[in-house]
Amino acid sequence: MLSMTNEEVKKAAAFFTREIEKLASGRSLRLMEVCGTHTVSIFKSGIRQLLPENVELVSGPGCPVCVTPNEYLDTAIAYSRKSDVMITTFGDMLKVPGSSSTLAKEKAQGSDIRIVYSSLEALEIAAKNPGKKVIFLAVGFETTAPTAAAAILMADEAHLTNFYVLSAHKLVPPALRALLASGKSHVDGFLLPGHVSAIIGLQPYDFLSKEYHIPGVVAGFEPLDILQAVYMLMLQIHDQTARLENQYSRIVPKEGNPSACTILSQVYQQTDAVWRGLGKIPNSGMSIREKYQAFDALLNIPIIVEETKEASQCQCGKVLRGLLQPSACLLFGKACRPEHPIGSCMVSVEGTCAAWYKYGAGRWQV
């Protein structure tokens, strides 16, 4: 959408970095990019290295695959072992380690696991395979959750009786609140996720400035979007104000997408949820409402799940809270690599450990 020549991009980037440096004027600041897609864009474009040394970007809990707890994977794996079940999932869940296996391993051993790009494909598969119970692994934040909700509504309309959802949807604002309430993750400003905000709008982040006096800027994903958002944060920090601002106004209207929010709350209700690394967070997950219970895998297909074990040395939990840099993990780049991930942060391309591994570490002071 934003057509610019390389030269123009360079000049604009130079402007932002110079101004950011001036505004930071020697203070040590930590800004958290919440969203995994931001993390990837930041690493790819080398923004960490462009910024002055005293302005650090820290990744937050914004990679849906990374924050999905072992227990969920263990449940999905247990389901995949049932001969009358077919699992449909986004591809990035395949390699995520559960307590003792992965979906990829189960697939290799004959479990019927299909990769889909949308919940609609899962619906089609269910319609074509009436003899199987088709479970869709519904993972993702507010951007993705309405797509699963829409699929449930469509399944209901089509009277599909073999389509089920195993929901692990998560909500971003309650996680940020938990992060701040813990008092451990020192953050001077938030780069807020653009595509989550395209659905929920701006209001759910109000508490950042109002209750915690921390500035937040909803940011787009082009390198210049991110630099501008950092610049906007720096202006606020410099002026000692805390507001919620929107850099991504071309995609994010103030009110978000009300139709998507309506469908989401028609099908799902907020519930407590367990996040890898953050533990149980009140009202941060979504469960299927009673009216659509017929599509809830857990309520309809009995399953015995092995006892959940966490990989003992994996530090994902601390990485996801911005408390530890991946290279400080003893397994990083050694036992734990993208082709052999020990923790979920190394699995998804959006995972912080994977980004550090792929694009080189860059700086990070804790």
Binding site: M1, L2, A12, Y117, S119, T143, T144, T147, R250, E350
Partner: protein, 76 residues
């Protein structure tokens, strides 16, 4: 995972839209964006159109980025 791409709606029938992304056409659901119309640029995610792209705002952002060039020149 929350990756979303922009595309242009070429045709729409009920809740299904044909969208062009970089020369390729795809079918996506507009169930989450019922107000979307033919000709709109929309943001797509996991098989659904999820938001209309505000072209005026996009132009403003672009204009701002391009304007910075002058400041960069100026300060040298």
């Amino acid at each position: 995972m929350c990756l979303a791409v922009p595309g242009k709606i070429l045709a729409r029938q009920d809740m299904l839209a044909t969208i062009e992304v970089g020369g390729v056409t795809r079918n996506v659901s507009v169930m989450l964006l019922p107000e979307a119309q033919v000709g709109d640029f929309v943001l797509m995610h996991a098989g659904f159109a999820v938001q209309v792209i505000d072209e005026e705002e996009a132009k403003k952002t672009l204009a701002l980025f391009k304007e910075l060039e002058q400041y960069a020149e100026h300060d040298k």
